[in-house]
Amino acid sequence: MLKHTAIAFIFSLVSTISLAQEAPQLNDAQIAHIAYTAGQIDVTAAKLALEKTEDPKVRSFAELMESDHSAVNEEALALVTRLNVTPEENAVSSSLAGQAVEAENRLRSLSGDEFDRAYVENEVAYHQAVNEALKSVLIPNAQNSELKSLLETGLALFQEHQTHAEHLLHEMK
């Protein structure tokens, strides 16, 4: 059952990525909106985990997700303000946000070890998908060099998060 929900989530993220790939040339305002939305989604998931988990390792992972993703988003906001760019909602960011609500509802219905495992599984899949989108779509399309550089640092950071989540999941097995 849990496996199914995780797999469904991965599939929907994969379709989001292909949506991004098909998108006719995303502009910087749209890329900024996608990156910011992706960060907020992980902060929200981390807050939920901090409410629900009793596992110290899951807790410290969630604390790190909350602090790292908030920090990157703060920097992203400062950057778009400086560049006078207004982040622009688009099909990819809306799709991400919609899926995040579904994922959150699923997670809310779980508790204990079931919750921990589902949260960490989602974190693995989510970071994997976001990293793939950064690598293949968002970074190559970004025009402004500061935005590109921020996304590149983000990718290095989120790859660390992915490895961390994979280790956690491995320990649960």
């Binding site: 602090s67 790292d68 990157v72 640092t153 950071l157 790859q159 660390e160």
Partner: protein
């Protein structure tokens, strides 16, 4: 009287001897090294770090990091956009990593 004269001579002789054959050398000055962390990477390890030197760890990055010695000799927490310093104590090769993002690594070589 005689004794104290002899002992004074002995001491003078010893001091004279020491000045020609020093038993240890004192390094001129403890140095200051800065290692900057940015974009999820430690900066290059400075060359010529000696025990007694000071390292300033400067976190210029977006997120918090740590400079943590694998051998447990130091563990410095670095909030984003902050810096902290330490005096190098142990000598040898020290592997350093970030506790929060363990893929970030560097190696310090510290000589006496």
């Amino acid at each position: 009287m005689t004794m104290s004269l002899i002992s004074r001579r002995t001491i003078l002789a010893l001091l004279a001897g020491m000045s020609f054959t020093p038993v240890f050398t004192v390094r001129a000055e403890a140095q200051l090294h800065v290692i900057e962390i940015d974009k999820m990477k430690f900066g290059a390890a400075p060359a010529g770090i000696h025990a007694g030197d000071t390292i300033i760890w400067k976190n210029a990055d977006l997120v918090k990091h740590s400079a943590t010695a694998r051998d447990g000799s130091f563990d410095i927490d670095l909030p984003r956009k902050s810096q902290d310093s330490m005096i190098v104590k142990n000598t040898g090769t020290v592997d350093v990593y970030c506790r929060y993002h363990p893929g970030m690594i560097m190696t310090l070589v510290i000589t006496p």
